[in-house]
Symmetry: D2
Subunit: 338 residues, 4 copies
């Protein structure tokens, strides 16, 4: 049994993580923290029956665990990650704090100085389909953002083959369920405001997931400064669908592109490339750890990729457990719905 | 043109009221207040194009209007109503502050002492189908609550004929859209919490609308202390459906009861008694000022009444304008969707 | 490994059943039938990746399995059940065909003569919390209806103690997600008709689940002919919430009633009696095999019980697997979310 | 009073049209047809109280009216339009039958030969903001499709100024409420399939609205063959949000583009160009005849336009009445919500 601690259990990601860990055959949950609910149990905070005690962060002793999952907000996470690292405990950080390799870029986008920049070089970007080997031996995983997961898995086969021109926009039109906005009540996530509505927000090049996506695109040899990203708040609880528009070489057929995707993801347990003619929908992905991909070619030289995930699972807690499984030598799918 | 002032324009009821008044052919809107949005316009607060300035309450001069609509919260409304009354301005109060005739009962349920009990005897309960004549000459209308509107209109034909036994429960199982909970963000009205969910709350004899309903039931000669009321939060934006279970004399047929309802509401522009065999749904009522009623008899001696309204229209702003039309000698349906 | 066959895999219940069986550690799925999709795979019919072949019923050889689950419609199921029985294969029938002990009552409600009345005495009503011992040795399980599951588990502790008066109505106001209406498109389940709506249907004493509930109530010594049942179509995908109103002895306190429920269900893995003051919501139950119960007392002599289940899991496929686990000597919770 | 006939009253567009006409002060409704509901009343088909008789098409005498609205399906409409034209009755056709100027293109996309190609030159494309003067004198209006309305109004200011390069894609990512798919029940519009889901369909260059949009883009001097159109089925009842990505000259600032839009639509009663920094959402448009536009510039040379309409109003019935008002010399906004 692997001894696990969870920081930040009172959000939707924390709940989803505990739901998975609770059923995971190799996990012994040692502690779960929830600053504003310390002293109560998980079942006082969510409509679930599990009597998991929630403690204050200061009470959590990370020297008693093999790994911690950190579901704290950006800015808060870095301190806890540094603490765990000092205790030589492996960390899977679900926040944004270690996703950007450059501390200055981090500060520019998140408005917070980075208090543990010395750990940034240790952080492995936790997208198993791209970085599986590094993840196995990592001491610190920066678990990807939900939008970046849906987008990078859609672009990876093209980037791998250098098929994206460096001077053309990559247009990403994404739609996310409301759980992606967290559990703190706000006017825009108020039921009456979000229901029967669809709202674009932080569009163009203003959303915090933009530098994360561009960093990875560039790392894979793709274009810099070409990403146009339009997230929308969608009136569903969970799921992200990204419709992605890219230029590809005019001579590359849709059949060749489809074959390329199938090949790039052959054997991947959580990537489902749909047969030609089918399109990915949220229903293909929600409540699973899958990323579902579909292709369509509107005209030679152009490609549409539809990418669907569950934002709380493949986009957060499920991917974190996938990383955990890899880090501890377990079957990658343990505890996760294929 | 009748000069109108609106207090409390930044909630859903205020918006719905301004939407109706904005199209009303006999209304000149003189002012609209919104304490926390003073200085901005309605279109800064809601996704509507109308450039209606929102002012602070202190800036509103009620001596310049013929009538005020008061959409302030319970406890706040009574002061503004008293102020308007001192200026001899007629008032339609959409809060609960003047619905309960007894100030002590008010304090018991709302936890607030009543600062204007001398006005309580002047207040007419603004349910036009029951109190049309009094409304016409009223200086102060206590506009009914949303649940009470749906329930009292369903019970009235039976109460009128003294058909409800005094010793049997009246069971009201109500379901309300989330706009009934107001526009302030809370965890229970957060999209992810309310969507794909259904939650009973304040059930039994604990909801604040209970004494209001019982007061009117008793006033009409019905049973005291027999009301069981179970509201549920329903994942829709608007509408209330109340399913009501009462005992009736065993010898009264469903046909006779249906005829009774049709007769009680003959000529009422906003009451729609469905033909036998049809059942009222939210879709029959939302976006209109209608109350839609349907009857079914499970067995001799028992009756089910289904009652549907739009909580923001017939349950609030629409009924307020219906009262306004009556008070100012206009056609009762002016500006309202029949 | 237990060899399993599934009849009727192309509805929502069939899908949910295959989802559970697919992960069940002791199940070997031998065949799945779907008459109108014979020749295709499950992933051609639903947005799931599993390549489970769907065959015609005539091709299914039930002599090759240890047990069949039958998800066929009423009227169709009885023939298949009889066939399986002739092959001495144990059957879990999710249809209504063997729930009513009296073939005449069946015909009266379902409009179909019963073609296998000789099997009715063998059928055990598959509500494990009431009939666990009989289920273990049954050759034929009549898996309960979704509404009856939510209602009978709510009434059982009272019926067991003979606390329900024989001459007072039992009022059940139920709300069901749309998956309860099946997967065949109809006007009332069309998105635009059901969304933002709430519709009562078949109310009073007209729904087919009424005789099933009354049979079990009477079997437990409760009142006959007193059930009033009002189902509503709720704009959510899954879940049933039943708000139930009964008379109880005036001297029985809510504390005593709560203790009674806790005691009646002590040790039950899938029954969750909420602490006093909390109310059951759909969110407590959906995506699990739980029945969640809460009590409130509006006044002495009256009790409200709120009961929540997932109609496709505890109300159908999950309960079927719970029965399966019991029949084959497995841990009752195997493969099911507690 | 203008005498009006309506063909095809039993769909969502027909209902919305009758809702508007019913309140229109200058309309006398002479007949409404609904082939499969002939002999019943509107209130038997929809949850509305209006006792409007529905007759068979053959019974409708179009010589008794001044204008007909035709809400029949593609292929059916052309015959009725031709009939009305022979009676010298003006026609507002809400189908696709007269939108494409070239009968061959029509046949290619709709798979039906055109039976009245001689009328095509008479048809005016009923987008008042582009063709107001022609509409006033038209005998036949081809009322635009819902998606084209949202897209063309978003592109028009750019096309007018020839700002769109002829060799770059115009990418339109549209999301439509389910009422856009009509009222006939299908699996994809079944509540359980569409709810909590988002589905792209007919993407790229395969949707029937593509040639309609391209025809108008080319007519305005824009690029040919560059439109990429990705519609999605959105889990809401009504509304279309189109997020549109175009290349613009690198030197044109967002301020200049915003000014251009404001100028192009100055005085337009139903176009609302949002202030810089605000984004269009469905909530800005639904239940009104508005088209709401917002701009954002992700980088020099690129522009995002968000365009929101109500698909049943500005995208169908409301625009039809706007055209009607123009044709009969009425104030353009009569009967329509600004």
């Amino acid at each position: 049994m692997i001894r696990v601690g969870v920081y930040g259990a009172s959000g939707y990601t924390g709940l989803e993580l505990l739901r998975i860990l609770h059923r995971h055959p190799h996990v012994q949950l040692v502690f779960a923290t929830a600053q504003s609910h310390a002293g109560s149990a998980l079942r006082d905070v969510f409509p679930v029956p599990w009597d998991i005690p929630l403690i204050a962060e200061a009470e959590a002793d990370c020297s008693t665990v093999d790994v911690v999952f950190c579901c704290l907000p950006a800015g808060k996470a870095m301190e806890t990650v540094a603490l765990a690292h000092r205790h030589r405990v492996r960390v899977i950080d679900l926040s944004a704090d270690f996703r950007l390799a450059d501390a200055q870029v981090y500060t520019q986008w998140y408005g917070i100085p980075h208090s543990a920049p010395e750990l940034l070089p240790l952080a492995v970007y936790g997208l198993p389909e791209l970085y599986r080997e590094q993840i196995k031996h990592a001491s610190l995983i920066a678990n990807p953002g939900c939008y970046p997961t849906s987008v990078l898995l859609a672009l990876y086969p093209l980037l791998k083959e250098q098929l994206l021109p460096l001077d053309r926009p990559i247009i990403v039109d994404s739609k996310s369920g409301v759980s992606g906005a967290g559990r703190s009540p706000t006017l825009r996530t108020h039921f009456v405001e979000a229901n029967e509505n669809l709202s674009p927000y932080n569009i163009g090049r203003t959303h915090r997931h933009l530098p994360e996506m561009e960093q990875e695109i560039v790392r894979l040899g793709g274009p810099s400064g070409q990403l146009i990203f339009t997230p929308h708040l969608l009136p569903v609880n969970r799921g992200i669908l990204s419709s992605i528009y890219v230029s590809v070489p005019k001579t590359t057929s849709i059949e060749a592109l489809h074959a390329l995707f199938c090949q790039a993801y052959a054997g991947e347990p959580f990537i489902w490339v749909l047969p030609s003619g089918q399109l990915a929908t949220l229903a293909h992905a929600v409540h699973t750890n899958r990323c579902v991909l579909a292709l369509a070619q509107p005209m030679p030289g152009q490609l549409i990729i539809c990418s669907a995930i569950d934002n709380l699972i493949k986009g957060a807690a499920g991917q974190a457990v996938q990383n955990f499984n890899l880090m501890f030598g377990l079957d990658e799918t343990t505890g996760l719905a294929v």
